[in-house]
Symmetry: C2
Subunit: 496 residues, 2 copies
């Protein structure tokens, strides 16, 4: 046997990574199953791509600097090619579509779920590995595909038990944002205006948090926050600021007429008019599908980061209120989002392939379900534990456990080498609803004792006298071995 190393490593997870416990795994497994069912019903097909891709295929190789982007975990293969862990499920999809274009049905609907990795600074609740669940439709320009994604998202929320009124699929359009930017003299296609555009979009994105006043400052000369930190503004003129505020405020002023309110602001450009037309088509399609404005609606404040989107953008927001870390009442907020990205596949082929999709943040949505108490109560109890009273009788105890399992009851024989007390403690720690006890007396009579740990715990709270306890032995009873399964089922039924 090898000697133990004198220099022992410390047992710890790497910075920004975490282990996931049984309750969370079970809840997520069920949740993912439900999402899968909804996506399948819409005709989406599963696809699994590897965790590792060539860095250049992910678009994360920086040719000017001849190395990968620092935001992704990267390493060199033995042939010197750079590999990276995927940072989302969209870039691998683009690679897959480019690689298999001819054999795919067009449009191609696929769903995928799995971990993604970000080489970023971890923070509270911000991990460097997390799970996404994506659905994308590739190969069609039709806004019916975007409308379908919105309906899919709404159906998913409801199938998970999130009630109508507790969620909203908010829709905007990058072309509309570009239209209003053009109207205030910022050219979204001009490199010179890139920084200004970014500052304006970031300001719009903060309406929820800062209100009109704050956004107005960020659009203008800048804003000092409570801590005294100053954020530089976009430097817009007062009338441009007014236009932007009208734009972002439209949904709040009159949701049903928001597109009409915005029309004069954006219809000066072809881009703006196209965005408007697309949103009206989406509105018509979802309305005719029976999805009213409480479920899917235009929202002029949705920006969706600063990514590769080229048309409609979506955000699934949970609208019920929770307390944040500082104790403030806030909306639960976004659990997923997406949009149309028409340029991703072209990176490989030069051929423009229109696509639209939606991505769910799995942990975040699971947290919402836990909060709403909608994660199914799976395995609320641990297994029934068969105690080992006599080590010479292991085969007998093992058979008792097997009998329970064959009757569909989760059960285990105690596998340690400790005595009665630690075994009871073990059963408690496992959350066992009851234990099976068979000492020599019971064995001779062909009986088992069943000790109900849940009733027992309740009884223990009301009995203070040790003697009284021993006399009453609450929640413990004997049955013939042949009746063990029925008796255990009775205990389980009693505790739901």
């Amino acid at each position: 046997m090898a000697k133990l190393p004198s220099n022992r490593p410390e047992a710890r997870t790497p910075r920004g990574f975490r282990d996931i416990d049984p309750a969370e795994i079970r809840a997520e497994t069920r949740m993912l199953g439900t999402i899968r069912e909804v996506y399948e019903s819409y005709g989406f097909e599963p696809l699994e791509t590897p965790a590792i891709e060539y860095t250049d295929a992910l678009g994360k190789f920086l040719p000017d600097q001849d190395r990968p982007n620092e935001g992704v975990f990267s390493f060199q293969d033995d042939d010197e090619q750079w590999l990276s862990l995927r940072y989302d499920l969209t870039a691998p999809l683009a690679r897959y579509v480019a690689q298999n274009f001819d054999k795919l049905p067009k449009p191609f609907r696929r769903y995928a779920t799995g971990p993604v990795w970000r080489n970023e600074k971890p923070g509270p609740g911000r991990f460097r590995q997390f799970t996404q669940f994506d659905a994308d439709t590739v190969g069609t320009e039709s806004v019916a595909a975007d409308a379908e994604i919105c309906m899919l998202a709404a159906d998913t929320m409801e199938r998970l038990g999130i009630a109508r009124g507790q969620y909203k699929i908010k829709v905007n359009n990058r072309k509309l944002l570009d239209g209003v930017l053009l109207a205030i003299g910022v050219d979204p296609a001009a490199d010179a205006d890139a920084k200004k555009r970014l500052t304006v979009l970031r300001a719009v994105d903060k309406l929820d948090r800062l209100g009109t006043e704050g956004v107005s400052r960020l659009l203008g000369t800048g804003r000092k926050d409570e801590s005294g930190d100053f954020t530089a503004g976009a430097g817009l003129a007062p009338d441009a600021i007014e236009t932007m505020l009208k734009f972002v405020g439209a949904s709040a002023v009159d949701g049903a007429r928001a597109l009409d309110l915005i029309e004069p602001l954006v219809s000066g450009s072809e881009t703006g008019r196209a965005g408007l037309a697309e949103l009206r088509q989406i509105a018509e399609l979802v309305a005719s599908g029976g999805y009213d404005r409480d479920r899917i609606a235009f929202d002029s404040t949705v920006v969706r980061g600063l990514e590769y989107y080229t048309g409609p953008v979506f955000e699934a927001e949970l609208t019920f209120e929770v307390k944040d870390e500082d104790g403030n009442i806030v909306r639960f907020g976004s659990v997923g989002g997406g949009g149309r990205y028409d340029d991703l596949v072209a990176r490989f082929t030069g051929q423009r392939v229109p696509a639209t999709g939606f991505s769910i943040g799995v942990s975040r949505l699971a947290a919402a379900l836990r909060y709403l108490d909608k994660s199914e109560k799976v395995q609320a109890h641990g297994p029934v534990v068969v105690l080992v009273m006599d080590k010479g009788e292991l085969p007998r105890y093992q058979r008792l456990a097997q009998t329970l399992r064959q009757a569909g009851i989760r059960a285990e024989m105690y596998l340690g080498t400790s005595g009665m007390k630690p075994q009871m403690k073990y059963a408690d720690k496992r959350g066992a609803p009851c234990v099976i006890i068979q000492g020599s007396q019971e064995r001779e009579k062909g009986e088992v004792q069943i000790k109900d740990l849940i009733d027992g715990a309740k009884a223990a709270q009301s009995i203070t006298d040790n003697k009284e306890w021993k006399a009453a032995r609450p929640a413990q009873f004997s049955v013939p071995e042949a009746e063990m399964v029925a008796a255990v089922k009775g205990v389980l039924a009693r505790h739901g």
Copy 2:
């Protein structure tokens, strides 16, 4: 819009990685669900650890060379610490147990599934990412835990539909192997004999492939294979070779009495006697559980690589025959294995924590189920496709698709912009059982046409005349919209 890069990356998966198609994903998802159910019934709890661990925690940091083992994918974090992708699920479990020792119930049963990565040379069927499904029991020396793992493995095979007689859980014991090595003068604990021991174990491992004659050569002076390549032998003396051949041949000579046959060979050492006693206990426990020797049995040829095992070792073998790549008839072979490893947690804590476990190779087992035609026929057909005959009527077509979905039928509206013929081709490519057609005529009458693509394809084979085809329009019929769901269900029922 950003300009396309002139230097486009090639769309390809990295060397040794692969995409997984829908049929395989669906079959594996079902298979993993069944395995999970069996493991849960035995009281195992799920655990999910991250894909990335500190290299030293995986035991893959080479301190003398101050760098990670080349067999794992590794990279440095921004604080210069080395990280690696896990290469199995056992090393992360050891890290988890060492990190959370005090709060875990002991013994601790956990199962886990997920991808693992090996930075090795890929080959046909050998990938650098693959999925494992592990169950381990940590914190008990009792061989009842090993016996339980064997029963768990047998139950899993049967629940997946592998019939009794088509699989065998083979059990051996490292202590027995050490015992016979001691008997022939090779000290398993002596560094000087390490190479010889390895050569002997490797030779034993090849009995299946090379037969007694070949193994005998490998134990002696060496062996030249058909291609003329020479493998050096262990250089054992003739009587030592005879002992080893008696040992490895015991199970074949008389399976029921194999342990008795081996007893005189190994009982000269304490290690050998301990191994024998453990195997007899396991045999008693599984027999009393009703698992006969066709399902779980001692097999003296099982070696299980050259890993960290310290006691009983297991191998799940599928015994039915298949053709290998060269057309030879061979047993399907191993789909999983494991054993007792008592030293893994001690790497961190210095404290010896006994453990035993079993790992399934997910793709390999899934391939076996496909071969046996036991993977459940999930989604044999694609979705029903609602054709778009009139682009102005998208909302109507979308509603038809939604009506089908709400009735539990997988359905999609065609989302492309092409005409009738490409749409029919699309439906074919999707494997649609039927399409829904509603032109202006049908719309005015409140009807839809249903075209059965499966019957249609059959009919097409028997009709050669185009005119005859047009007149008969086989497998195509009209129903009122209100009867669409029932009619489609009829089509689906007809094609099972």
